[in-house]
């Protein structure tokens, strides 16, 4: 959370209201909800195993027991505690997700920003390279590589996912750099004799932070799902607990046919919830980057729709997902002016 806040906060902005605008964007309910869900899982992974000290691998005679006081999420076929596995497994799943996404984002940033800025032959080569990695289907590649790996612990899986997952970020970064490098302030920086590294790091990168973060979160989802898939196939270490490993054992232990939903459902649900929370944050960032999307919320119901589709807008405006989120533009614009811009069908942007 802090990373995003500082990332967005670093972007230099011309207008006085710029900072306010960023804070408002972070207050978007989508982002808040996303962060809240994510925080729960991160905290559970960090603190959980310390508080709930049951050994996830300890066998017991209480096999396939439903949720009870002794085992809040029941037990597996070998009597292991599901909650303990979930908490410890969360560590590995989140670790692989975040670390491999971080590595992939850095590779993508280097390739994309460098290619977009330097242009010419370098860009052509890097861009073809990026597109090749983008088109080659990842999971089969990851499966083939892991098939050869002598050890399949969390670290090697992390590296394999990072190596195969950077291309999307590179492509988006390159496009953004291409559009930024022609802006006046970059030309000005060049004219004052700033070096290429300084221009890239201080002038260009800060203005791409929002999409860097969005790309990072997207890669985290991808990495968590890929790791889960690999573990489920038995292609990562089966003795190291992760949500994917839990699903592997649950499937091998015929959890669902045995009626042990408490064994099979929670890991998948955790993956889905973490994925949704990251996607929600990404929605919020999208709205931040592209104000038109934000304007589609309650702040501006376009005239186009209101006039043409009376049937759809007769009902009072539904409580929108982003209730409580007032775009700063709206907050500081006199009502009359707002009405006028609405009549022009322009939204708030």
């Amino acid at each position: 959370m802090a990373a995003v806040a500082t990332a967005l906060g670093d972007a230099p902005v011309a207008e006085e209201t710029g900072r306010l605008r960023q804070i408002a964007a972070l207050r978007s309910p989508k982002i808040l909800a996303g962060f809240a869900i994510l925080a729960i899982f991160v905290l559970a992974a960090i603190i959980g195993p310390i508080v709930y000290t049951t050994d996830p691998s300890a066998l017991s005679t209480a096999a396939l027991q439903g949720p009870s006081a002794a085992h809040p999420l029941g037990t597996t076929a070998t009597g292991q505690d599901v909650l303990a596995q979930l908490l410890v497994g969360g560590r590995v799943s989140l670790f692989v997700g975040f670390v491999s996404a971080a590595i992939a984002t850095i590779i993508g940033m280097l390739v994309g920003v460098a290619g977009g800025y330097i242009a010419g032959l370098t860009d052509e080569v890097l861009s073809v390279f990026t597109n090749i990695f983008l088109v080659i289907p990842t999971l089969p590649l990851v499966i083939v590589i892991s098939g050869y790996l002598p050890s399949r612990g969390a670290v090697s899986v992390t590296l394999v996912i990072a190596i195969t997952g950077w291309a999307w970020g590179a492509r988006v970064q390159r496009a953004q750099t291409l559009s930024i490098r022609r802006r006046d302030y970059v030309t000005a920086a060049k004219a004052t004799g700033e070096g290429i590294v300084r221009i890239l790091v201080w002038e260009i990168l800060p203005n791409e932070m929002a999409i860097v973060v969005a790309g990072f979160l997207f890669t985290v989802i991808f990495a968590i799902l890929t790791q889960a898939g690999l573990a489920f196939l038995g292609l990562s270490s089966v003795s190291q607990w992760s949500w994917g490993t839990m699903l592997y054992w649950a499937q091998n232990g015929q959890a669902l046919p045995a009626g042990a939903w408490w064994w099979f459902v929670p890991p998948g649900l955790c993956i889905a919830l973490v994925g949704s929370s990251l996607a929600l944050i990404n929605f919020g960032i999208d709205e931040f980057v592209n104000p038109r999307l934000r304007a589609a919320g309650i702040t501006a119901r376009p005239t186009l729709q209101r006039r043409r589709r009376p049937g759809t807008s007769q009902a009072p405006a539904p409580p929108p997902a982003n209730a409580g989120f007032v775009s700063p533009g709206e907050r500081f614009t006199p009502v009359a002016k707002r009405e006028k811009s609405r009549q022009r069908g322009e939204g708030e942007s």
Binding site: I136, P140, W168, I271, A272, A296, P302
Partner: protein, 327 residues
């Protein structure tokens, strides 16, 4: 035309890169698991099969990397992908040839359904932006998209296959039918494909839907849409001919990325459903350390994805007149 030529040459370069990657991976990996396997099969392999496996994995230490690479290509062009260990003694190309069509039909049909469904729904909720549906549908589909395919697949198998008995829980066709182009076989295959296809559609529809919705919203605030409205055109015409037609371009352009996702998910789905497609065979290959089969499948999947992308590019050509102008 120039656009198409550029794309085709890009795909050729990519295909070359994939082949080269396939050539390099076993040679770059620490240790050589293939060597161990090969010695296990030593007595059972014909000298010819042994030779092709040697070229495949670079076990022939006498030849230089360059010679090995040329040899590898010449084997490949004669579609000699080696002998499968797990389907011994069938050649890899035969194993892939029989399983490939299952996957192509399954993924092809479900991708088209998901694309059409997601795009149309995206156009709708983008048009009715700010409505109740627009508020809840993207969030709901996002949740479904974050669900691991295989997890959803297993639950579907359990609920609709094992409990309700609406659909067969596994396999690709009923064993009582004869494989071939006859009515009962096709009906049985279609019946078996329903559950996996639904799983793939449900998990992949969100990407299309949200992408299309966002582009639709962005496009609707363009001046030419306001202009079209001012001219008094029918809403339906504005919606489809003005907004949707422009909004669909990024969806088509990012087809590559999305298809990669779908293919990855579909592989896992096939495994869950024991569907006789290429994903399931890949799983068997990996669990049996069947390296030749693994490599062959990776190549075939990559080539298939490239062809699908080429088709998407041709669709792009049809939708976007700008790509045709410069010819």
């Amino acid at each position: 035309m120039r656009f198409l030529i550029r794309r085709v040459s890009f795909y050729i370069v990519t295909a070359w890169a994939a082949v080269t990657l396939n050539f390099l991976i076993p040679r770059l990996m620490p240790g050589n698991p293939a060597q161990i396997l090969l010695s296990r099969f030593q007595g059972r392999l014909s000298p010819n099969a042994l030779r092709s496996l040697t070229t495949l994995f670079g076990l022939n230490s006498h030849a230089s990397l360059g010679t090995q690479y040329l040899q590898y290509w010449s084997d490949l062009l004669r579609s000699n992908l080696g002998i499968s260990f797990s389907y011994f003694p069938e050649p890899v190309s035969t194993v892939i040839g029989t399983s490939m069509w299952w996957t192509i039909v399954l993924i092809g049909v479900s991708t088209i359904i998901a694309f059409v469904l997601g795009t149309v729904a995206g156009v709708m909720i983008g048009w009715h932006r700010g409505s109740r549906l627009d508020t809840y549908l993207p969030s709901a589909t996002t949740f479904l998209a974050s669900v691991p395919y295989f997890w959803l697949g297993i639950i579907t198998v359990y609920v609709f296959g094992s409990i309700l008995h609406w659909f067969p829980p596994s396999g690709g066709y009923s064993l009582s039918t004869t494989v071939g182009f006859n009515g009962s076989f096709i009906a049985s295959a279609a019946y078996h494909a329903v559950l996996p296809a639904v799983t793939i559609v449900v998990s992949s529809v969100a990407g299309w839907l949200i992408g299309m919705r966002n582009m639709m919203v962005t496009t609707l605030s363009e001046d030419y849409v306001v202009m079209a409205e001012a001219k008094g055109l029918r809403p339906r015409r504005i919606m489809y001919a003005y907004a949707a037609r422009n909004a669909i371009l990024p969806s088509l352009a990012s087809f590559a990325m999305s298809l990669g996702f779908v293919v990855s998910g579909a592989i896992l789905t096939e495994i869950v459903f024991s569907y006789p497609g290429i994903g399931y065979v890949l799983f068997l290959a990996v669990s049996n350390n069947d390296y030749p089969l693994m490599e062959g499948i990776f190549l075939v999947i990559t080539l298939a994805v490239l062809i699908a992308n080429l088709l998407a590019d041709i669709a792009y050509l049809v939708v976007d007149p700008r790509t045709r102008e410069d010819s």
